[in-house]
Structures are given as structure tokens and as C-alpha cells.
């Protein structure tokens, strides 16, 4: 069967064999959980606790009044040691609540199952999802309740569930689909109910036949939920590309999926929604793939949010001697870290990648040879070569004219470039600069 596809994209090696067959292992709870107050896109939280306070598992410890924000919760029970700075996997340092674990795992009284969860209204469900602190778990960590509140004039007719996991190395979503299939489907049904949509499609890349089969079997003949095998091609799991492949619709430049009647959710997010609604458990843990040639025992682990990365590396047997690069997230879109110290796992951390010398290409950046391979592979049809040369000369207005803002930062251009130019980074610089300019203009007017 020929599968529908999207324009561009690349075919990096999968590198998933180290962990794809390994069942998820529960990681040891951390002795000190470091919970950043800003783990999502949107306004950072204000702390609700102070040093010395006793906290219980699932207790809300940070919240914000802003709509585009989600609260954070204590993932262990114990005592707040301090509110201080930690390194954020998203770069820079952020405020975090440091909780000393008493290893009792005493649940907070707000955490209780909702026996009548099946009868709840859409607004009640949205509120539960917000209060549970759920943000997109594919990596971007966009607040889920915001995504589930599309403007009323947009009619949503499709819920797309992203099980593509197109990033090489990562197998967290793959394992989640195999091991928590029922919860996944429950989450999907809840999302459909909230949006009043009759049709959901779960898209899974065809390099995970076992996951496709498992989800298909569980969904059975249930009407409305379809499982679709997708080409194994990067960036298959990008929101706009997934919509194009499954529905044939194209999200307009500068638009949102809701503009074409779609909402996309990651499989991990759906499972978190199911947990929050049925069991009343806020987002306290997630599956993280710890892999790469520089780690002794690659594993998929169920990790409490706020567990220091160093703890997990230790539980995976530590580094081999030749660690060259540490990335949080996948190799294509993840962010390289200056070091593992004082760095916690957050809601969007899908993987911890420990790359050895042999896996890191350190090529000299050479001049563009105008081969246009970047144009060919760009899934959003922009021209990275021109944007990068504009940024090199500091001509950000020119970069804007070349639609730099449409870039989804997938990194396909950098991957394919024969001159080894870090094109995606230049475009990211342009996006930052243009966004800052727009903000300044908006403030002026």
C-alpha cells in the first residue's frame, strides 16, 4: 500500500534498536527533586510553597494566573529545602523548588480518583487537565488545556494523535503505546469528548509494527478511532506535517492546526490526560529514553519530574569514557547541554541522549555551494540558504521576507547540508530577532 506523504523531509538512521525492545523500568525516586517553575511554553509559575514547608506527593507547588500556563506539582513527598536556581533543559537557568524526599510517597489529599469521570462535561475535563499541569509531552510542552480550547468559530472535526516518534534514538512513545495501550485509548476518547469530535486518527510510523498492531487490536472495531501507519520519514511527527499526511489539509503560513479543523496531541499527553481524569493524578512522571553509545545500559525509564539527570545516568550504569555530547530530547530537535549537573528532567524531556565521539560529526562550517538540497528537504517550503546568508549579514528584515517565521526548527536542512552549515541555528536566530522586533512594535502601538 502506498502511503500519503508530505513534501521534503530526510531519512536519518533510526538508532532505536538499543531500547525499543526494552520494557519501561521504574526509576528510583530522587533524594532531592528539583522542580523548575517554568517547564512549559507560556508564563512561568509563582511558587506556592516556601523553604521549610512540608509537601506531599501531587501537591500543587507553583501556579500562574495566566491562561497560557500550567501549574507544577511535587513529584515526591518531603520538605522544601530551598527555592533556587537550576539549569533548565531548555537553556539558561530557571527558578526551581528543591524538595528533599522522605521516601514515604504520601499522597496529597487533592489527589483522589474521580468515580464519575465518564459523566463529566467538557469544561470540567479541561479544568482537571489544567490543574493536573499537563503540557504537550512530545517536547514543546505547550499547555494542553489551551490546545483543547480552540476558538469557537473554528469547527474541529479531526483529533490526530501523534505516535510517529520520528526522532532517531527515542523510544519513549513507542513503549508507552505498547505498555499503556488502554490508557492511551481512554485519553484519546476524552480528547474527542472535550472537543465534540467523532473522528480520531492515531498516526504511527511503520518502523514500529508492534505498536501499530497493539493499538489496532485494542481499538478493535471501535468506531471513530483509526490507527494509521505512516511512512518512516523525519519530521513525520511535526504537527503540520502529520495533518497534511493524515487529512491532506495544509495549515496556512502563520496559522494553527485549528484553522484547518485539526487538533494534534502526543500519545504521552493522552496517557497523562487519562491518568489525571480517572485517577486524579497530576503529571508527576513521564517515560524518558536514556540512550546513546556513551551510556553503559540504555533504558526506557519511568521518571519522576524533577529527577536530576545525573541520577538517571548513574542508574543506567554511568557514562562510558568517551561522552562527547549530551542532548535532552532527540538528536534532531533536542537541545545540547553544557553539562549534566543541576539539570532536572521536566515535562517535555522525552530523551537523554549521551553521544560518543563516533556519533558526533564535528565538521568545519564551509561556504554555501548553492546546491539547494536544504530547499528540497524543507518540509515547510522555505529556503534556508537565503535566510542563513541574510542572518550572517545581520539582515533580519530580509530573513523575515523569506518567511523565516514559518520554520518549524526540525533541522532537516542542517542534516542534509553538504557544506555542514548549521542552517537551522541561523534560522532560529532570525526567529528570535524577528519575534523580539514584533514584540517591540506591539508594545509601541
Amino acid at each position: 500500500m502506498s502511503l500519503r506523504t508530505f513534501k521534503g523531509g530526510v531519512h536519518p538512521g533510526h538508532y532505536k534498536s538499543a531500547t525499543e525492545k526494552k520494557a519501561v523500568v521504574v526509576a528510583k525516586p530522587p533524594a532531592v527533586a528539583v522542580i523548575p517553575l517554568s517547564q512549559h511554553i507560556g508564563a512561568p509559575c509563582d511558587p506556592l510553597v516556601a523553604a521549610g514547608d512540608a509537601v506531599k506527593m501531587g501537591q500543587k507547588i507553583g501556579d500562574s494566573k495566566s491562561f497560557v500556563s500550567v501549574p507544577v506539582h511535587a513529584s515526591v513527598s518531603g520538605k522544601v529545602v530551598k527555592i533556587g536556581k537550576c539549569n533548565s533543559p531548555l537553556g539558561g537557568s530557571v527558578d526551581a523548588v528543591f524538595i528533599e524526599n522522605d521516601f514515604q510517597d504520601t499522597w496529597h489529599e487533592s489527589v483522589k480518583p474521580n468515580p464519575d469521570w465518564e459523566k463529566m462535561s467538557a469544561d470540567e475535563l479541561r479544568k482537571i487537565i489544567r490543574e493536573a499541569g499537563i503540557a504537550g509531552m512530545g517536547g514543546a510542552a505547550f499547555p494542553t488545556h489551551v490546545k483543547l480550547s480552540p476558538p469557537p468559530e473554528r469547527k474541529i472535526d479531526y483529533v490526530l494523535i501523534n505516535g510517529a516518534e520520528c526522532e532517531p534514538y527515542l523510544t519513549a512513545d513507542h513503549r508507552a503505546m505498547l505498555e499503556r495501550t488502554e490508557d492511551l485509548l481512554r485519553g484519546v476518547r476524552l480528547v474527542m469528548k472535550i472537543l465534540g469530535v467523532k473522528k480520531a486518527v492515531i498516526g504511527i510510523e511503520d518502523n514500529k509494527p508492534d505498536a501499530i498492531e497493539a493499538v489496532k487490536k485494542a481499538a478493535g472495531a471501535e468506531s471513530g478511532i483509526e490507527v494509521r501507519a505512516l511512512h518512516t520519514k523525519y519530521p513525520q511527527g511535526a504537527e503540520k506535517q502529520l495533518i497534511k499526511v493524515i487529512t491532506g489539509r495544509e495549515v496556512p503560513s502563520g496559522g494553527l492546526p485549528a484553522d484547518v479543523g485539526c487538533i494534534v496531541q502526543n500519545v504521552g499527553t493522552c496517557i497523562a490526560i487519562a491518568d489525571a481524569v480517572q485517577k486524579g493524578v497530576p503529571l508527576l512522571e513521564r517515560i524518558v529514553t536514556i540512550t546513546g553509545s556513551a551510556i553503559k545500559e540504555p533504558q526506557n525509564m519511568l521518571v519522576r519530574i524533577g529527577t536530576p539527570v545525573t541520577d538517571l545516568i548513574e542508574q543506567c550504569g554511568g557514562f562510558t569514557s568517551n561522552l562527547r555530547k549530551l542532548i535532552l530530547g532527540g538528536p534532531m530537535m533536542g537541545i545540547a547541554q553544557p553539562g549534566a549537573n543541576n539539570l532536572p528532567v521536566i515535562k517535555g524531556t522525552s530523551g537523554i541522549l549521551c553521544l560518543a565521539d563516533s556519533e558526533v560529526a564535528e565538521d568545519e562550517i564551509r561556504p554555501c555551494i548553492r546546491c539547494a538540497q536544504c530547499v528540497e528537504v524543507c518540509p515547510v517550503s522555505i529556503m534556508p540558504l537565503f535566510i542563513s546568508s541574510a542572518v550572517e549579514q545581520g539582515l533580519y528584515d530580509r530573513a523575515e521576507k523569506f518567511n523565516a517565521m514559518d520554520c518549524i526548527e526540525c533541522g532537516s536542512c542542517s542534516y542534509i547540508c553538504p557544506a555542514k552549515r548549521p542552517l537551522a541555528q541561523w534560522i532560529k536566530m532570525a526567529k528570535d530577532e524577528i519575534a523580539a522586533k514584533r514584540r517591540a512594535a506591539a508594545e509601541k502601538s
Binding site: 539549569n87 537553556g91 539558561g92 537557568s93 537541545i335 545540547a336 547541554q337 553544557p338 553539562g339 564535528e362 562550517i365 548549521p422 541555528q425 541561523w426 532560529k428 536566530m429 528570535d432
Partner: protein, 260 residues
Amino acid sequence: MIVPAVISLAVLGLLFGGLLAFASQKFAVDTDPRVEQIRELLAGANCGACGYAGCDQFAEEVVAGRAPLTGCTPGGAKVAAEIAALLGLEAPEETARMTAQLKCVGDCNVAKKRHDYLGVQDCKAALMYGGGPKACAYGCLGYGNCVRVCPVEAITMGENGLPVIDTDSCIACGLCSRECPRGLIDIVNARGVHHVRCKSQEKGKQVRAVCDRGCIACRLCVKNCPVEAIHMDNNVAVIDSSICTNCGTCVEVCPQKAIV
């Protein structure tokens, strides 16, 4: 054959010449001759330090009275006086010559590196990932954005990865100061020779952990300055160049060699 060609070209030439002469009289645009004269007086670097789009626009604005006489930073007091004389205005008070100074001594031999960086060789780009490869959160990143923006090539990249500013050719336009993402280049009075070349607001212990030469806020310079020109601001010493006598005592007492 030659004669008719010469005649016809001559006639055409005369005809068009006449037309142009007529048009230049009839459609002449009144321009203030002073604009052109002032344009000639300016330093002519087109650096934009005056805040206008190049020397031409500045000349127009100054004649129109919208720009200050002292607006041309590279030209300094001399140009300001000349402009004033031309416009028949009172010469502005003489201002001190300014120059750019780098406030960091953390070259690659003394500042500790936290990680390698392989991406775009640009200070702002390096800053995007984990705040730059140097361990010091205040130090010079060394990818030379200031070198690239300098309109008079007064900044070069030194051997040890710190930019070197030639204060004699610097025109104090301030482009480098605005470009530096760490804000390490100050436009200062050119008569001050010695500067505290560190902006780290960390306490001494943290500074020592990341750099061999950063200011550790020991206050020795403050205590020893004979004219009290040095004060502490957020854990870093600052020399007031309007008081400083360039005696060099602070340079001698600084245990970190952060004052140069």
C-alpha cells in the same frame, strides 16, 4: 558619408543640451547649500552613531535644527565647532573625546571553559545554547561580533580570543557597545587610561572558580586610590575617569590583575 553623421549628431547634441539646460533652470529644486557644506565637514564614516541613517541625513537634520550640533560622535568637538560656525550659532562646549573600552580580561588562557561549542560562530548564536561556552556568565564570548560591526576597523580579534580595541582610531560611535550581547564594551572618556576590565557581579569565590583574573571585589583598589576615584558597584570595582589621575596605583595593588 562622414559629414551628414557629424552634422546630425552635432544637431542632436545641441538640441538635447539646450533641453537639459532649460530643464535644470525651470525644474531646479531648492536645496540649502549648507547641507552640502556640513556633509563635507562630517567625519564621513556613515556609522549611524548620531541616530540618523548616515551622514547625509544627519546634515539635513542639523540644518533643520532637529539634530544636536554635537551629534557627530566621530567628528567630536572640532566638527561641532565647525558646524556651529557655518550655521552662525554659538560653538557648543567642548566635550571630552570618548573611546570604546573592553571590560573583560578573560581570554582563553585565564577564563575556564565549560563546554565546546560547534555552531554558528557568532556571539549571539553561542549565547543561545547554555549561555555560551565560557563558565563565566559575564565574560566575553570571543566570537567577534564587535569586530564585524566596527565601521573603522578599530577592533581586531586578539590571539587569545579577546577583541583588541585600537583607541586611537576608535571614533566612539558605540556600535560595538550596542552589538555586544554581554554589554562588555563601554564608551568612556579617552583620558582615562586604566579600567577595571571585568563586569562579573558574582562574589569573589564564584569569580575565582571561573576565571583567574576577574574582579573579586576585594576593595584593595578602592582603599588605595589616592583620589577616591574608585567605588564598588554590585561586587565589581568601577573607576570614575573624570576623577582618575592615571597614577596607576590600582593597577599595582589589584591581586587579580583585573585592572589594566
